[in-house]
């Protein structure tokens, strides 16, 4: 990261701190959803293990997804308010502008994940992962954050208004609910089940679940990393080309 990226990162970080809605969306909402599922609904699901142990990996992904809306809105605001022209005339690279947004989104997600995992421990979450397992968990989580951040920056750049940019991330926020995050896919109805089995969040969640339970599955880990690489690459290329076209 060059000096300009660091300056842009600092700017975007201040934005997060000054926008309470962002913090609520990214940190509090996932916690509330977790409490809801674990306390109210968890006993009704039979997932074969303690529900909190089952649900935590899914909640981690939920925490990632909930932080994305703010990023798309912010990226789009930069483009539509004219501040981007100021940056361009000052020769601030498009890389710096986009990197600032990606890194802040990742940081926000990681903070939110730390809170989620902390609360999960309080609720009785007892993972069996080894040290190496934890490292792998962190690696996959960072990869997922990285990939979804780039995709979100692209969505923000492609949208016409900040509002529609925020809306564009709604499918990403909904995806975890249609994955194995809350209940196993094989308990779902026809159609939804197939969707849940093949959508990207399921292998990511299943790989985390296996690693945290101490029973890692190579297939899911490879699937998770492949999806992250694919989403990240598409997001990056899309963001780059949209940026060049718009600014």
């Amino acid at each position: 990261m060059n000096a300009d990226s660091v300056i842009m990162l600092r700017r975007n970080f201040k934005h997060t701190l000054r926008n309470p809605v962002t913090v609520i969306n990214a940190v509090l909402l996932p916690v509330v959803i977790m409490l809801m599922f674990v306390y109210m609904l968890g006993n009704a699901f039979s997932v074969g293990v303690k529900y909190i142990d089952y649900a935590t990996p899914g909640m981690i992904l939920l925490a990632v997804a909930y932080g994305l809306g703010a990023t798309a809105t912010e990226v789009n605001s930069d483009m539509t308010t004219g501040i981007i022209n100021r940056f361009r005339v000052m020769d601030v690279s498009r890389g710096a502008v986009m990197t600032g947004h990606v890194v802040v989104t990742m940081l926000r997600s990681l903070i939110s994940i730390a809170v989620i995992v902390g609360v999960a421990f309080g609720l009785g979450f007892r993972p069996a992962a080894s040290f190496a397992g934890w490292l792998a968990v962190i690696g996959i989580v960072v990869a997922a954050c990285f990939a979804t951040s780039w995709l979100t920056v692209a969505l923000g750049l492609a949208a016409k208004t900040p509002q529609s940019a925020g809306l564009a991330t709604v499918p990403l926020i909904m995806l975890p609910f249609f994955s194995s995050a809350i209940v196993p896919a094989d308990k779902m109805g026809q159609g939804v089940r197939q969707f849940a089995e093949y959508q990207p969040f399921t292998p990511i969640i299943e790989s985390l679940r296996g690693l945290l339970a101490g029973t890692p599955s190579a297939g899911y880990i490879i699937g998770a990393l492949a999806w992250c690489a694919g989403i990240g690459l598409v997001g990056y290329l899309w963001a780059r080309s949209t940026f060049s076209k718009r600014a």
């Binding site: 501040i83 022209n85 005339v89």
Partner: protein
Amino acid sequence: MSNSAIAASGLRKAYGNKTVLDGIDLDVRAGTVFALLGPNGAGKTTAVNVLTTLLKADDGTARVAGHDIATGTKAVRAAIGVTGQFAAVDELLTGQENLQLIADLKHLGAREGKRVVTELLERFDLAESAGKPASTYSGGMRRKLDLAMTLVGSPRIIFLDEPTTGLDPRSRRTMWDIVRGLVADGVTVFLTTQYLDEADQLADQVAVLDQGRIVAQGTPDELKRQVPGSHVLLRFASAGDLDAAAQVLDGSTRNDEDLTLRVPSDGGLKSLRALLARLDEYSIDPEDFSVHTPDLDDVFLALTGHPNTGHPNTGHAHTGHAHTGHAHTEVNAR
């Protein structure tokens, strides 16, 4: 041409088959104010965007601060400051942080950056609100902050795209004073405006842009000379009075429909007194009496064949309070 800050020739830009700039030639001398005057949609913003390297021209060349906009993009960018049509401030940051952001991006260094930020806050009367987020600023304050951000790093050439559109009369005057102050410091200012009086007030050189073409260029006075001269307009109660007046006033042109008589005059006190005395002599009482000296509105009408249609809603309100260059004096005879 060594003292040209901005020199353009044959600039063209089209979007699809809609031509926005249709061969623009400009020459702006260093240390002067240049106004690009035109109604909405004339191509003013496109011209600014091309000259500031934000847009690539389809054809033509331009040199800004001695560098070619196509091949010396970086050098051009380093020499200019641009304030766009919409205040490009970061709403979530405070005024001070906005300036600091630009100082950081210009790599001024911690100490110099701080000094520049403090100085600009003082100079633009923003010190008191420096700690408040820009989202709480009024339109005028936002423009001032925007301009202050443009001045970080002391660019020698500044582009202002409609710097006073949407501002109240007081803020407009502040903005005008700021522009005059910049020129006094030797900065070259290129501004666009749809306000004729603004060009009249500020610019050394005006170019009138209409539908992508420059239809006239010159000093405000030169442009005014291109339109019918100043005159006195007399309106009468009856055709008889009109006849009588037309007989005694040389060179006048009558309009029988409105019962008005147009008399060439320099608009000065002496000639007005003489004119009134002559009417008095023949006991002719005009009903209404007004002096017209041409302003840039007339220039626009004369040059383009259509009135300045920039903003029909605000045009008149604005004429009301801030139109100082406009010498339209009405005197009711009785």
